[in-house]
Chain length 250, copies 2
DNA sequence: CGCTTAGTTGAGTTCGTTCAACGACTGTGG
DNA sequence: CCACAGTCGTTGAACGAACTCAACTAAGCG
């Protein structure tokens, strides 16, 4: 289903992978690079708004985001949606499904996205032959866990204004490290996405974002927001930001 | 600090580990068992209410719950607390810290707890020598991620009654698989714990639990709750329960 | 041109909070 | 033995944050 959207098969060799240029990401050893380049099966190009993985599916593939923005979400039967996290270059997509079988969340593209495709079964080979990469994958899973911990704290215990400030600051911080922004510092989201991430209604999200705008912390544009004052957002959120240090990718 | 509470050093050999008797947990191969038993450094016995790990600490240890109940939580500076998840026998404690350095949440015992102690540095050895165990650890991390996804959906999108029903059903389901219950089916928690997990005030939590009681789904006892109707709780929550299948432990 | 999607704003309602008081029980020290 | 403080659970009343409903702009697209 997702793969039917694969309209191109340009295949950037891992040696020239753009992710290796990002200083925030930890580069491979020669050995690892050699293995990963054989591990990579192809690329998947997906347009904005399309679904990359669906809850309930058993995907034969595991992906790494090469470029673009996406998000993971779950829904209740009556349609209420909760966005769990956003996906950016270097993030693994579909790890849960690869390890445990069925996907329990869906993934949708926010912008045009390019994914690097791996075959799920070969993950065992990776664990057998490359303990350092296996450790990296666990690192990535543990990092995701941390982020979810932080989101839970936010949704459970911060009020609407703090929550919104935290979310925007969080996304901005991640994007900044990945060198995704130009001077405009623009995050491509609708207010509906924000609402579904914060666990608020759109109406109240709109009013909350207005408050942040009126404090000069951000500016809402068509389909996205421009960050004006990252430190101000951190302060409103009562959040210290992500820790420093490089992160691995595969 | 936590280790100063180690008042006993009984050391159950891994060969006779009680967790191996639990049918829901996947047993080791002879080879793995041999390695794990050398990996184990000792045991830590902790009394109810004491802190096992503190946010901000760099623990030299990694633990597995052998018996008892505990929980993970984070707090904001002003003291607001969010409980992230509950820990039961077979769960890894402190994996995030072991892999990424600093702990970003705290862990506290709800009942007397016995932990199996491993040394953090030896985790790399495990990855090098036992890919199957390394994979299991990733499995466990991915499982935790799933649970957090589900909690996020719950806190973000379910109302108080649904949320409470989901939480109780979730804890009950996990405990049942681990054979923790006698006929009383008693979960040892205060309403404050429930409130801090649901992201609600104690007062409203109390009123919500009363509603569940009046529907005959549970009964509140001193410092805990007795499950009367697990299916009824699932129904109120609009939740299908945890999937079936064994899970690994280390 | 109508249709759809995204964002905005106001009014009234509901869900959950805060404040406050009280009962039951436990443990402690005099 | 009683007095006292501390924790846990319970309940009522008033308040407020966030929700729903509804109406309305503005932009984009066939």
């Amino acid at each position: 289903m997702a793969l039917s959207r694969q309209n191109q098969s340009f295949r950037i060799p891992c040696q020239q992978c753009p992710l290796r240029e990002i200083t925030h990401l930890r580069d491979f050893t020669a050995d690892e690079l050699e293995f990963v380049s054989r591990f990579k099966k192809g690329e998947l190009v997906v347009e904005a708004g399309s679904t990359i993985l669906v809850e309930g599916a058993h995907s034969a593939h595991l992906f790494t985001m090469l470029s673009g923005w996406a998000f993971r979400y779950k829904t209740l039967e009556d349609g209420r949606r909760q966005i769990l996290n956003y996906l950016m270059p270097g993030d693994l997509v579909g790890l849960q499904g690869s390890i445990m079988g069925e996907m329990q969340h869906s993934v949708e593209a926010l912008s045009p996205v390019i994914l690097c495709v791996f075959e799920r079964e070969r993950l065992l080979t990776l664990y057998n032959l490359h303990p350092s990469l296996a450790f990296d994958i666990t690192w990535i899973a543990a990092q995701e866990e941390r982020i979810l911990d932080e989101h839970l704290l936010s949704i459970g215990r911060r009020n609407a204004l703090e929550r919104a400030a935290y979310l925007i600051a969080f996304i901005f911080e991640r994007g900044r490290r990945l060198e995704l922004f130009d001077e405009r510092r623009f995050i491509p989201l609708t207010q509906q996405h924000i609402a579904d991430t914060l666990g608020l209604s759109i109406v109240h999200t709109n009013k909350t974002l207005k408050k942040l705008s009126s404090k000069g912390l951000l500016r809402w544009q068509e389909r996205g927001c421009e960050i004006l004052d990252p430190e101000g957002l951190l302060e409103v959120a009562g959040w210290t930001g992500l820790g420093e240090g490089k992160r691995p990718f595969v």
